[in-house]
């Protein structure tokens, strides 16, 4: 075994040998090594957030024809560190009547629920914290703690706007969990395993689930944007609608941690998307050289993250009723039918070659997507016909010629 073929285990064995040389018991050495791995992973992702904040502000600035941070350090790179120092020295203001324990636990839980997701992500071949055989459900379970943090923050603040904001958010988040869970079912079904490493292995040779099941990838992408609370689904902090949402009574670093959790979470869902749908670390030469796989993985995750930022920068916010309709009347029926169709097609094509099966699955996805778009188009046209008389009436009253049917179809 050398460093380039298995870097994590190589370092682990080297350090283990070093520690055993000091006369420590083997179980203690193992414990120390896992502790080190956890610390590296958790600290790494927390510190990485600083860079993410800078990157996001810079990209958003460019989208909005601004420069973004550019004063502190080269390209403004030190700006988030300056912000961090500022927020560290701010006063905590705890509102009267706040419920002490849940109030203080909520920001910790919000950050922990994002950090914990990294425990099962395979960063490269044999570079994974723990290859849990129920990895996909683990991700869903940890997501539940994020929702719980919002509940606790909302009701322990003793503020009716915080509570109202929290309730809106929870209704949204739990709703969007349904299509997310169903979309994640498709990769599990195709790979026959819930382990993240096994899902990555099953996508070897370019059979990325983005190509095999593009619709599941789309549903997962949309619902994970909603889970993170990013524009166009940023109702978690719709400043113009509710005062600030569930975190209104938080200040200083306690507020900062909700912010950190949101930024890190939006990168984390990109990482999960890259793992489950873009083949993770798979790529030429990645199986023998895990560090190369790590580079592929980060590039893929970064591309997804960039698309996420493009969404945020270019789309206006949805109304909450539109968002609920999108979830329950479009994404959930779509993902339910997708699971059925993919299961049936995959079972019927069980005996043909991988390529033919992949093409069959892809075309079935496209057919489902086409049917869904057609149904939505007809429903939209029907609704337009229902409201059209009202418009014609108004236009006749104002004296202008009524719109020719067909010419204004692209409502």
């Amino acid at each position: 075994m050398n460093f380039w073929n298995d870097p994590v285990n190589f370092i682990g064995q080297w350090l283990g040998g070093l520690l055993s040389g000091l006369g420590l018991a083997p179980s203690l050495v193992n414990f120390l090594l896992s502790l080190l791995g956890v610390l590296v992973l958790a600290m790494g992702s927390l510190l990485f957030t600083i860079f993410l904040i800078w990157y996001e502000r810079k990209i958003l600035g460019r989208i909005q024809d601004r420069l973004g941070p550019n004063r502190v350090g080269p390209f403004g790179l030190i700006q988030p560190i300056a912000d961090m120092m500022k927020i560290f020295t701010k006063e905590y203001i705890t509102p009267i009547g706040a419920d002490w324990l849940p109030y203080n636990l909520a920001p910790i839980m919000a950050v922990a629920s994002v950090l914990l997701l990294y425990a099962v992500i395979p960063f490269g071949n044999r570079m994974v914290g723990v290859d849990l055989n129920v990895g996909v459900l683990y991700l869903v379970a940890i997501g539940g703690f994020g929702i719980l943090a919002i509940v606790m923050a909302g009701w322990s603040s003793n503020n009716k706007y915080a509570l109202l904001g929290a309730f809106r958010v929870i209704a949204l988040l739990v709703s969007y969990e349904v299509p997310m869970v169903l979309a994640l079912l498709v990769p599990v079904l195709l790979s026959g395993s819930m382990g993240m490493s096994a899902i990555v292995q099953a996508q070897a040779g370019g059979f990325w689930y983005l190509f095999v099941a593009p619709l599941a990838a789309l549903v997962f992408f949309l619902s994970s944007i909603a889970e993170v609370g990013r524009a166009p689904f940023d109702l978690i902090e719709a400043e113009s609608e509710i005062v600030a949402g569930f975190n209104i009574e938080y200040s200083g670093l306690k507020f900062g941690f909700f912010y950190v959790a949101e930024f890190l979470h939006s990168f984390t869902v990109s990482v999960i998307f890259a793992t489950v749908f873009l083949g993770g670390w798979q790529g030429p030469g990645a199986a023998t050289y895990p560090l190369l796989g790590f580079v592929y993985f980060i590039v893929k995750a970064w591309i997804v993250y960039f698309v996420l930022l493009l969404f945020r920068g270019s789309l206006p916010r949805f109304r909450i009723d539109q968002m609920m309709d999108l979830n329950w009347k479009v994404l959930t029926p779509l993902s339910l039918s997708l699971v059925v169709v993919i299961a049936l097609v995959d079972k019927l094509l069980a005996n043909v070659s991988l390529l033919v099966r992949g093409i069959g699955l892809l075309s079935s996805s496209l057919v489902v997507g086409f049917v869904a778009v057609e149904i939505m188009r007809q429903a939209g046209a029907k609704r337009r016909r229902e409201v059209a008389p009202a418009f014609e009436h108004r236009e006749a009253a104002s004296g202008s010629a009524p719109v020719q049917p067909g010419s204004g179809g692209g409502l």
Partner: protein, 118 residues
């Protein structure tokens, strides 16, 4: 294996300890001068009127309810998906029936207007 869960447990401890330590450090660094005006509940500068626990609509409950039903469905569908490779067409049809029954429930909720945000 059990060691997997020990690792996860360690991760949970560290992931909670890091932000907790940071919050405590920031509390030591920052000033601490509370007064009764500052600690009032925030309400855009005016004093809070009425109780905090305003009445909520049952609509929130309905969304959580439909979510619960679909969440429990995962208990059944994820093992089925893991076993998918060993199943016959019959097994797939059984699960299809399972999903169709649930879709019927969704359709009822839709028709009943339970999925409208009011």
């Amino acid at each position: 294996m059990l060691s997997d869960w020990l690792y996860i447990g360690l991760f949970i401890l560290i992931a909670a300890a890091l932000p907790a330590a940071a919050i405590i450090v920031a509390g030591l660094l920052g000033p601490h001068k509370p007064n009764s005006i500052k600690n009032q509940t925030y309400e855009c500068g005016i004093e809070t009127v009425g109780e905090t626990w305003v009445q909520f609509k049952a609509q929130y409950y309905i969304f959580a309810l439909v979510f619960l039903v679909f969440d429990v469905e995962t208990v059944f569908l994820y093992p089925w998906a893991v076993a998918f490779g060993q199943l016959t067409l019959y097994g797939v049809l059984e699960a299809t029936l399972f999903i169709l029954i649930l879709a019927g429930g969704l359709l009822y909720a839709w028709r009943k207007g339970a999925l409208e945000w009011v």
